[in-house]
Symmetry: C2
Subunit: 114 residues, 2 copies
DNA sequence: TGGTTATATTTCTATTTGGTAATACTTTGG
DNA sequence: CCAAAGTATTACCAAATAGAAATATAACCA
């Protein structure tokens, strides 16, 4: 699984990583701050950061000894664009769902009658 | 990893599963049709379908012996809403990225000069 | 310089995932 | 009813992931 889109969705498929994104949404945070905010070991956090970075979801700056972690809009853009592309099918899917549910109810009623 | 959002993103983090969603975007497909379209064994496809179903991305109808697979808007809605929530930080992140890149270039120039 | 802080990397382990092959189940058509 | 089609489930394997602990690296400061 090495395509960028898969990497990005996989990176988003973890609560700790989404929490990190949430924590840096309004401004950069140091790794140490992220370790304190999430109860996980420092190597654990660094590993998650690597996954997020390779997914294009974060960027690291270098400020003195610290490496503040920023949101990177590119990964979110990639994932959002994919989902947006399918949004045009959502309404149609809703309609078809309605039809499906109606049909299932009908069948259930029919079976109930037997 | 058992929360719905993680399940949905994980389901999207696979090219075969995204291909399946693409194939049913404009209308339901039988499992057999999906097996033919993706070169993977039938159990392989069924396994992917199970992942997609548990992620709220597909629904299965029952028509005679076949089980046509439909898009389910709920999973896409869930993932899309999460990403949308972060969209408001994107512009800000772009601005910060510009600042970051400027700073990095500045430092590179400085280092180059030495 | 040497000590300390901040972060990354390595190593190891348990769990999960993606795949195939074999088998079971279910429904319908003859 | 029974044979076959359509699909699901089971059993198994290889590879990837998530986590902790230990160690290495890098930059600042006294």
């Amino acid at each position: 699984m090495s395509d960028p889109l898969s990497r990005t969705f996989l990176a988003l498929a973890d609560p700790t990583r989404r929490a990190i994104l949430s924590q840096i949404a309004e401004g950069a945070q140091s790794v140490t701050a992220l370790v304190a905010a999430n109860r996980l070991s420092q190597p654990g956090i660094s590993k998650h950061l690597k996954v997020l970075e390779e997914a294009g979801l974060i960027r690291r700056e270098r400020v003195s000894r610290t490496r503040p972690v920023h949101l990177d809009p590119r990964g979110l853009q990639l994932a959002g664009a994919w989902i947006d592309h399918y949004r045009k099918y959502w309404e149609g899917a809703f309609d078809r769902m309605d039809a499906l549910i109606a049909r299932l109810n009908e069948e259930a009623a029919k079976n109930g009658r037997q």
